[in-house]
Symmetry: C2
Subunit: 432 residues, 2 copies
């Protein structure tokens, strides 16, 4: 038989301990901020019936990017490409029992069949934070406040990121009343704005011309005027007439009151997915090496209703792990990598039993301890501890067993100290 | 359009917050014990090429129970039904860089297309603990000690479970030297022993007769003698002649020295998977309502080598979440369900801003706080907090805003107290 490939499946990633530590740090910040606002964790299946996505997620995601297949029982299923339809289904299933607003979060993996590139993998991890059963801007402000809090908790400064905010109702109003487009052309222009940062200016103009057809010049002028607007006051009068403007202004007032400084209104922000119905937002990295959307979210009031339940309003967001990892990296915010193991016990000579006994004692005190069991040479044992990024090595040999006094070495400073077993416990607990 | 079904995909489970809390408790014990012994967490892809499983996992698992399909690029892949092949692949990929013994663990989900039943779901969660690059019984003793420690950490008594231990080399010796069977018949008898607890005594006898064919009576006598052996001393002399017996005895000496009391030797324990090469074990629940194998593991020295690397020895185990949940349930060991949210702020009247400000203050002190944003009636707000299993409600209304003294209610005892904001912080932190 030929050897099997040791490589991971295309677009997926093996997280060795040093990689997993970074991921765990990101997860820990997500958990902390979500719980801080009273959100409770849930878990969900990896597979869903494919039609859960075809209903509202948009053709690209459901039709071209899902890992879908027919199971052994003839059901057409997909590995979840996102969480929003799943959590909407779960809320629909318990709509009578849940307490509203229901504040829910999860940290889970997803798969999309896309071309792998920087910040985009076929399997990726996301935090999903959603609030169900709250109609007003207070719910939207809460989600945006949490988005900002996540960035701050990672150590980011206000100027390291920008939160672009828009509203789907305002977009729809603009398409009909300002651009004077019908439904089909509106959708096309929305998708075009969505791709704006991924294509050249010339491509954007060409495609816009196609959409406006006979009214191309006028349409392009209107787009130009729009792109020049730096805040709500700059907007063309035809858009400012919308009643949604008040709602947007109210939201910005709440954000200012919450002490948030990175928010801007951006009429050209669309968000690709079909299910958004109100506020939409995206958090952008301002670092020139990583100038891209980190994550986003918005209001999607129609999704729970698809599962045979009455409508239940919803606002949510979904920060991704890889994007966050890149953000931390370019801003020098990734924490130093240290093992979760507090000490490595090196065995010198025939003292395995004594080493094991010491390990048992340290573990009983709440310490994480690895003990050598391979009778390797001392320098190899120390090298192992260094490779594993463990800070302290405790030696168990002739001297230690006879005297009950252990030699302990700090591998970062190379400093050595001697102490008995109970001093060792105290020292290692203090230096966790 | 017809409504979509709100049910989860067959054999999978929605974990609402109260279910997720139990799972998180199980995960926390797993993390704690794994790290205690110096194991470090890794993560791995959900998909693997199917041939990773066909190579060594056995026909039933790879051929009949995988969720396998062809991806959009023509690759035949499977949702992982177990972790052992994946972590073996990962070790093979970094065989030069890793420090040995490599102690690795993960907590991850898996899928198998089986008939769902009590304690068995099509999607399930497992801890995987593995040690690579250590040949001796010390590594086996460490894994078994951790298995025992997990049970104790969950609050189980020695008598609540039993650890059955055997050795594949001894099994192979027995098949050839005691039962005098060739390779094919040996495999058949191993599989039959493996199913023993799932079929009737009569079925077992019938199938054994088939395997022994002309020597059926003698074969059945030998099986009977074997099943009567309660410890190693009782074993037939032909088996005791094996050199593996010393190895097994050494392992039991180490376990006794580690203070473990639930271990027994069981010559009839086989473990279904093809990749085991030495020690194998299973932990059984002794409770009459749940008398079944909770989890198991063993030595599998040949798997890393399949990925084109030199052989690297390995011992591991994989406790499952659902089995553990049932164990905790029948032994009354499931912890009381309490929200991760420390307080619910109820808003009385037009004081949303003041309520939000108090929430911000409490959150800044490290507390998890949910605040009402729906202007619901007070009794509805309190009902929400009760449903969500939050312990304390803090009221923000006329009196509180005027006086700066808040009313706080313990929903378990119905006791109410008054305190100012900084007293509130201290009180809630003490009562986390």
């Amino acid at each position: 038989m030929n050897a099997l490939s040791p490589q991971s499946y295309k677009g997926t990633r093996d997280y060795y301990p040093e990689d997993k530590r970074v991921q765990n740090y990101i997860f820990s910040v997500w958990h902390k901020v979500a719980m801080r606002y009273g959100y409770e964790e849930y878990g969900a299946p990896t597979l869903e019936p494919l039609d859960v996505y075809t209903a509202k997620s948009g053709q690209e995601l459901a039709g071209e990017q899902t890992y879908s297949f027919t199971d052994r029982g003839g059901r057409i299923v997909a590995i979840r490409p996102e969480m929003t339809p799943t959590i909407s289904r779960m809320v629909a299933a318990r709509r009578q029992e849940l307490a509203y607003p229901a504040r829910l979060y999860s940290i889970a993996n997803f798969m999309r069949y896309e071309r792998p590139q920087r910040g985009r993998e076929r399997e990726f991890w996301q935090l999903n934070v959603d609030i169900f059963g709250s109609d007003g801007v207070l719910a939207e402000a809460e989600i945006l406040t949490m988005a900002d809090d996540i960035m701050r908790e990672f150590g980011a400064k206000d100027t390291d990121y920008i939160i672009r905010i828009n509203n789907r109702k305002l977009i729809n109003f603009m398409m009909a009343q300002y651009f004077m487009l019908d439904g089909v052309k509106s959708q096309a222009l929305i998708k075009l704005f969505d791709r704006k940062n991924k294509i050249s200016d010339q491509e954007f103009e060409d495609q816009a011309r196609e959409i406006f057809a006979d009214n191309a010049e006028e349409g392009l002028q209107k787009i130009k005027r729009l792109l020049g607007a730096k805040n709500m006051a700059d907007l063309p009068e035809e858009i400012k007439n919308s009643s949604v403007v008040n709602e947007v202004q109210e939201l910005f007032t709440l954000l200012e009151r919450a002490g948030i400084k990175s928010q801007v209104f951006d009429i050209t922000l669309m968000r690709g997915l079909d299910y958004y119905t109100g506020m939409v937002f995206e958090v952008f990295d301002t670092h020139p090496d990583n100038a891209r959307a980190l994550f986003g979210g918005g209001r999607y009031d129609g999704l729970v209703g698809l599962f045979g339940a009455e409508q239940i309003s919803a606002v949510g967001m979904a920060p991704g792990g890889t994007m966050m990892e890149n953000f931390l990296s370019v801003h020098n915010l990734t924490p130093k990598s240290v093992s979760t193991t507090n000490a490595y016990i090196a065995v010198l000579g025939d003292y395995q039993k004594e080493a094991n006994d010491l390990a048992t004692k340290l573990r009983a005190s709440g310490l994480n301890v690895e003990v050598d069991i391979n009778s390797d040479k001392l320098d190899k044992q120390i090298k192992n501890a260094v490779k594993k990024q463990i800070r302290f090595v405790v030696f168990v040999g002739d001297n230690e067993v006879k005297s009950g006094v252990y030699n302990i070495k700090n591998l970062e400073t190379t400093e050595e100290q001697q102490m008995n077993a109970s001093e060792l416990v105290d020292f290692l607990k203090e230096n966790k």
